[in-house]
Structures are given as structure tokens and as C-alpha cells.
């Protein structure tokens, strides 16, 4: 029956059914295979991505660890060679290698240090190949040829195997550069070929770059600080040097070079040589280091200069250990001279006051004891002598009082309009007897129609007296020329200019520097045989002239060639203001002219 039914179904239909079933089965199988392949590929992709992520993670962990180690071990010491050591020492955990080498520069001896850490037992030929590659790299970077003879090598780690036939399979170099300067080179080498590429070494170059950037920045900061410090040291008015514990010169400033007359960039030997016989620098440094307290200040004389030597320890901030010694050279020549002048001045004042006092006392004693025996006209003579001597003393005391007032800013001048020509004429008359007692020709030239001036009559007499008496005092024979005229700028009167020129002993430039100072006339005064008085005259004259709004100065071609003193007196108030305004309108530089006297030191 079944057969009969099957027989009844047409063959064509059966074929179609079979075909459909076969196709369905094949498609299902194909889709299953494709699905499997797709899933497999997806899995493989994920696996590859995961591997990459793992590698990246490993690189990041390594990078962080190495940078952390560099940070911890180096701190702020800026030791680039130590950084190179750390990086080269850490490479073993990152990649396969046979030998890790590093070349570092020894700046002191211009040598290259080659350290070679052998992991796989390789031959010396292999090591030499590395060395040559590194020397080539360094020469290329620095654009300077380097040779084997400049390399000091140190090979450690595994024992070298001279039987090894391995040659350099692959390598890479890691330059370490600080502020554009190569400080070292790391080389990683393997006997295997094609081991290192951009991908597996990138992390090292990143680390190297970061570390080098950090050190470069720190070095910049340090250099900026050093530069500031150096400028401060160079601008010191004292000489200064510093040596380290090993007695190496760390710094020396220009001032010290000038003081000791050494070359501009001296060695320690130059300095020791310049101080020879005056200061044992090495002993001073050693004593300072050994001593708990500061050493007493020493005083030496070098090249006619009196120098005080102060030594001081330099301590490390963190350890408080002595790292060097600073030696300060303080020039006290001027202070010493001033001190001597002070002492001379005091002695002179005591003498100047005691002599007349003794004379007065002796005369008074004579009169008292011999009153009945002395004739009336003799008593009159004695009293005149007492009067004259006490007048000299009074003038001396007045000078001292004037100086005291000037130094405490309590010196006043009471100015009013007046005829300065009259003052000059009157004073000249007073001095004529003194002039005629010497072989001096006195000429006076007062400008006709001299405008009135604004001055303190008493004080200006004091100034004129001082300058004229000095001219007479310091001129044995010859001439004295007095000139009084209007000083003009661009045709406008600005003040009255008085000049007193003599043909006397003159002033040499060295002496002239301090002529208007408090003790400036001491030396000059000693040269005048007839010198009497405080020697404060020019100092007081300067104070009076300046307090009156004028200027005072002098010119002298040199010792033995005469001197001319000048001073100015402001024009009478109304006249002065009118002409000043007129002149300023004509020329701006006038204000400068009025306010600036020619340079004279005090």
C-alpha cells in the first residue's frame, strides 16, 4: 500500500522536496560555520585587543615605576648620570636583551665612561660592536669625533665567552639630553635579530624625555638662581671667594681680582700667590672649618690697601655639615685714613686750643703776680695780647660750632638783597696789609653795573675771607686775581660768579678729591708754614655757599701751578626770578646749570 502511495507521488515533486530539504540543511550548516567563524574572529580580535591593552598597561606600570624611582632616588640633585643608571638598571623587567650598556661623560677629564652589564654570555667582539655603535651615535649627536682611546670601560655581569659566535643581532640607543647637551647614552643589545622596534621601545623614549625635561627645567631654575647669586656676588663692594672642603675654588668675584691685581678669572694659585707673605689662605680655611666659633677678623696690607679678612663656614642646609668656606676681603683703607685724620684733627684742635690758653694763663699769672712792678703801658700790651689770643680761640671755637651746626642740619643763613661788589671791596681793603707784606700782586676786577645779589653778609664775608686768606697763605710770591662778574647763560644773567685765582702751591688731584671735606685741609694746611686755625674753612665755606643757593668749586692745573676757587651768589630776589624765568624760556638746560655745580667730592 505504502509502495502504492509512493508510487502515486510524481518523481518531479519528489526531486523538488529533496532539493528543498538539502538546501535548507546546507544553508543551516553554512550559517552555523559562518557564525562559528565570525565568533572565532571576534574572540581573536578581543584577545588581540586585550593583549595590546595588557602591553600598554605593562608599559604604563613600568613607566610610572621608573619615573617614581627616578623621583625618589634623584630628588633635586639633578644627577643626570644617576638617572641613566636607574633607567638602564630597570630595563630587564621590560624587554629581552643580551647586554645593556651606558656611556656617560666625565666633564672633568673629557673622558667617556662605558659600563657594560652582560646578561647572556657573549664574546668581547660582541661588546666591541656595541661600543663602536655607541661611539658612532655619540659622534653623530655631538657632531664631534670620538675615539676608543677616550673610553674607559667597565664590563660586569655574566662571564664573557670567547667561543661565542654570536654577533650583534639587534640594538637600540637611548640618548639622554639635558638642556640640549648630551650627558649619556643607553644601549640595549641582543644576539637575536629584529628584536627592537618603535612600538616596544616607545615607553623608554617617553621616560627618557620626561626625565630629561624635568632635569632641564630644574637646571634652568638652578641656573637662574645661580646667575642671580653670581650677579649679587659680583656687585659686592667687598672682595669675596669661596672654596669647598677639598680646597677647590668655587667662586671669586671681580672686586677681589681688582684688590689683588690678579687676572679676571684667577685660579686658586693666582690668589694664593697674590696673598703670599700676607695671608696663609689654606691655614685660614682649615682653621675656619675646624673652629666652632667665628675666627677673629684679620687685617692685612696688600698693594697699599688695608684689608680686613673675615672667614665664614658654609653649611649644607639639610645636613648642617661644612661644605665650604667663604673668605671676605673688606677694604678699610679709607676708614683707616679717616680714622687717622680724625685723630690728627683732635690732636691739632687740642694743640690749637691749649697753646693760646697757656699763653693767656701765663700772661694773666704774670700780671697778677707782678701787678705792682709792671708799668701801665706794659699791662696794656699784655691785655692786647690776651685779647688777640682769645679772639683766635673764639674763631676756632666758632668754626667748630659751625661744623657741628652743619652736621646736625641746624646751620642757617639769613640772606637779603645787597651789593656784593661792596663786600668784596671792603674785604680786599682789610687784607691789603697782609698782601703787601708778601711779594704778591693783587688785582681786582669787578664787573661794571654788577646786579645786586641775595646773600648773608656776615657769612659771605666769612667765605670770602677764607678763600682770600688761603690764597695769600699758599702763595709765597706771585699774584692773586679777584674777579666778580655776572654769570650768564644764553645771554641771561643767572647769578654772580666770584673767582679768586692765585699762583701759589696749587693742588694735586689726589688732594683735591677731599678738599671740601671736613678734614680735607689737614694735609694741605700742614704744607703752609704759617698755617693756623681749624682747617675747617673750606668745609664751612662750602656749607655757607650751598645754604645760600650757590655753588663752590676749584680748578688747579696741579701742584705748584696755582689754584682758582670759584663760588656763585644768587642774584637779588626780584632780579633773580625775572632773569630765571626769561632764561628758562630761552633754554631748558639752564635749570640744570643752576642746580648742578661742577662735580667735587665732599
Amino acid at each position: 500500500m505504502e509502495f502504492g502511495i509512493n508510487f502515486l507521488i510524481p518523481n518531479k515533486l519528489m526531486d523538488t522536496v529533496f532539493l528543498i530539504v538539502a538546501l535548507t540543511t546546507t544553508l543551516s550548516a553554512l550559517s552555523a560555520i559562518l557564525g562559528y567563524l565570525f565568533m572565532r574572529q571576534k574572540f581573536l580580535n578581543e584577545l588581540a585587543k586585550s593583549k595590546i591593552r595588557q602591553e600598554e598597561l605593562k608599559g604604563q606600570v613600568y613607566e610610572t615605576a621608573v619615573l617614581k624611582e627616578i623621583g625618589e632616588r634623584i630628588g633635586y640633585s639633578l644627577d643626570a648620570i644617576k638617572i641613566i643608571e636607574i633607567i638602564s638598571g630597570s630595563l630587564g623587567s621590560l624587554m629581552p636583551y643580551s647586554v645593556i650598556s651606558r656611556m656617560t661623560f666625565d666633564p672633568k677629564y673629557e673622558k667617556i665612561r662605558f659600563d657594560c652589564n652582560v646578561k647572556d654570555s657573549v664574546s668581547l667582539i660582541f661588546i666591541n660592536e656595541i661600543k663602536q655603535k655607541m661611539i658612532r651615535s655619540i659622534s653623530e649627536i655631538t657632531q664631534k669625533p670620538f675615539f676608543d682611546s677616550q673610553v674607559d670601560e667597565s664590563i660586569y655581569g655574566n662571564i664573557l665567552n670567547e667561543q661565542s659566535k654570536n654577533h650583534l643581532g639587534s640594538f637600540f640607543n637611548l640618548p639622554f639630553i639635558i638642556n640640549g647637551k648630551l650627558v649619556g647614552l643607553i644601549n640595549v643589545s641582543s644576539v637575536l635579530e629584529n628584536l627592537y622596534d618603535e612600538a616596544n621601545t616607545a615607553v623608554l623614549y617617553r621616560i627618557s624625555k620626561q626625565a630629561s625635561d624635568a632635569v632641564s627645567k630644574l637646571q634652568d631654575v638652578l641656573e637662574a638662581e645661580k646667575s642671580r647669586l653670581s650677579q649679587a656676588v659680583q656687585s659686592l663692594t667687598d672682595g669675596l671667594l669661596m672654596v669647598d672642603r677639598d680646597y677647590h675654588l668655587v667662586l671669586v668675584n671681580k672686586k677681589l681680582c681688582n684688590m689683588l691685581s690678579t687676572v679676571s678669572n684667577p685660579s686658586l694659585f693666582d690668589i694664593v700667590n697674590a696673598l703670599s707673605g700676607k695671608l696663609d689662605l689654606r691655614s685660614s680655611v682649615e682653621e675656619t672649618i675646624a673652629s666652632e666659633n667665628d675666627l677673629p677678623v684679620k687685617e692685612i696690607i696688600v698693594k697699599d690697601k688695608v684689608l680686613q679678612i673675615v672667614t665664614s663656614k658654609v653649611l649644607d642646609k639639610s645636613t648642617q655639615k661644612v661644605i665650604g668656606v667663604i673668605v671676605l676681603f673688606h677694604d678699610v683703607t679709607d676708614a683707616k685714613s679717616l680714622e687717622k685724620l680724625r685723630q690728627d684733627f683732635t690732636s691739632m684742635m687740642v694743640h690749637e686750643l691749649r697753646s693760646p690758653l697757656t699763653s693767656i694763663k701765663s700772661t694773666a699769672d704774670l700780671i697778677t703776680s707782678q701787678m705792682e712792678k709792671i708799668k701801665k703801658d706794659e699791662i696794656s700790651q699784655y691785655l692786647k695780647s690776651i685779647n688777640s689770643t682769645s679772639q683766635s680761640m673764639l674763631e676756632l671755637v666758632n668754626d667748630l660750632l659751625d661744623v657741628a651746626k652743619m652736621e646736625s642740619d641746624k646751620f642757617d643763613v639769613i640772606c637779603q638783597n645787597g651789593d656784593f661788589a661792596d663786600l668784596v671791596a671792603e674785604r680786599v681793603e682789610v687784607f691789603k696789609p697782609q698782601v703787601s707784606s708778601k711779594d704778591i700782586n693783587l688785582t681786582i676786577n669787578i664787573e661794571k653795573g654788577l646786579p645786586k645779589a641775595y646773600f648773608d653778609v656776615v657769612r659771605m664775608k666769612q667765605v670770602f675771607n677764607n678763600l682770600l686768606s688761603n690764597a695769600i697763605k699758599f702763595t709765597r710770591s706771585g699774584e692773586i686775581r679777584i674777579k666778580v662778574e655776572t654769570e650768564q647763560v644764553n645771554g641771561a644773567a643767572v647769578d654772580i660768579l666770584v673767582s679768586i685765582a692765585d699762583s701759589g702751591i696749587g693742588i694735586d688731584p689726589e688732594e683735591g678729591r677731599n678738599l671740601f671735606s671736613r678734614f680735607g685741609q689737614l694735609v694741605r694746611g700742614r704744607q703752609a708754614a704759617a698755617f693756623k686755625g681749624s682747617g675747617l674753612g673750606l668745609y664751612i665755606a662750602k656749607g655757607i655757599v650751598e645754604a645760600s643757593g650757590g655753588r663752590i668749586w676749584f680748578s688747579s692745573p696741579g701742584a705748584g701751578m696755582g689754584t682758582t676757587f670759584y663760588f656763585t651768589v644768587p642774584l637779588a630776589r626780584e632780579t633773580h626770578e625775572e632773569t630765571l624765568v626769561k632764561a628758562v624760556q630761552g633754554n631748558d638746560s639752564l635749570v640744570q646749570k643752576i642746580t648742578q655745580a661742577p662735580k667735587q667730592s665732599n
Binding site: K133, R136, S137, E140, I141, Q143, S170, F171, F172, N173, L174, P175, I177, G180, N187, N194, L195, Y196, D197, E198, A199, T201, A202, Y205, K209, S212
Partner: protein, 89 residues
């Protein structure tokens, strides 16, 4: 001009091969799109704008050798004044 660029790039890559090592320098150079570099560091084709490629080449190597790459390129450019003139425009 293109040959000049090829020659310049080749010299640059060869210098980097000496400084950094051949494996690293070559893989770095061969990874740059627009350049065809053989295993001796010789550049055979430049597909993109050579001016841009010069910039890219220098910058990519600066990741590894910092200012050395820039200095190296500047030094080489003194031998290629036409290129130096062109890139300065």
C-alpha cells in the same frame, strides 16, 4: 625637487638609524603614511605633500630623540637650500 626631498628624507632617516639604532628608526620611518622607506632607510616614494611630510617626519622623530631630530633636520637643510627656501615661505 621631489628627488631632493627623497634624498633629504633618506639622509635624515639614516642619521636617525645611527643615533637610535636601525630597528627603532626604520620602524618609526616606515610607519609614516605617505612615505615608502626601504630597509636601508632609503626613501623611494613620497605620496603626500613633501613639505608636510618633512614636518611630520621631524615631529615623529622628535618623540624619540627630542631636539636632536630638529637639529639634525636643520643641519641637513643647509645642504638643500631650495627646500629650506620653500619651507620658509
Amino acid at each position: 625637487m621631489e628627488n631632493n626631498y627623497k634624498s633629504l628624507f633618506s639622509e635624515f632617516i639614516k642619521k636617525q638609524m645611527v643615533i637610535l639604532g636601525p630597528g627603532v628608526a626604520l620602524s618609526k620611518a616606515q610607519k609614516i603614511r605617505g612615505l615608502t622607506v626601504d630597509n636601508q632607510g632609503q626613501v623611494s616614494t613620497i605620496i603626500s605633500d613633501p613639505k608636510l611630510m618633512l614636518k611630520k617626519l621631524t615631529e615623529d622623530f622628535m618623540e624619540f630623540s627630542g631636539h636632536l631630530a630638529r637639529e639634525s633636520m636643520q643641519m641637513l637643510l643647509s645642504d638643500y637650500p631650495e627646500i629650506a627656501k620653500e619651507i620658509s615661505k
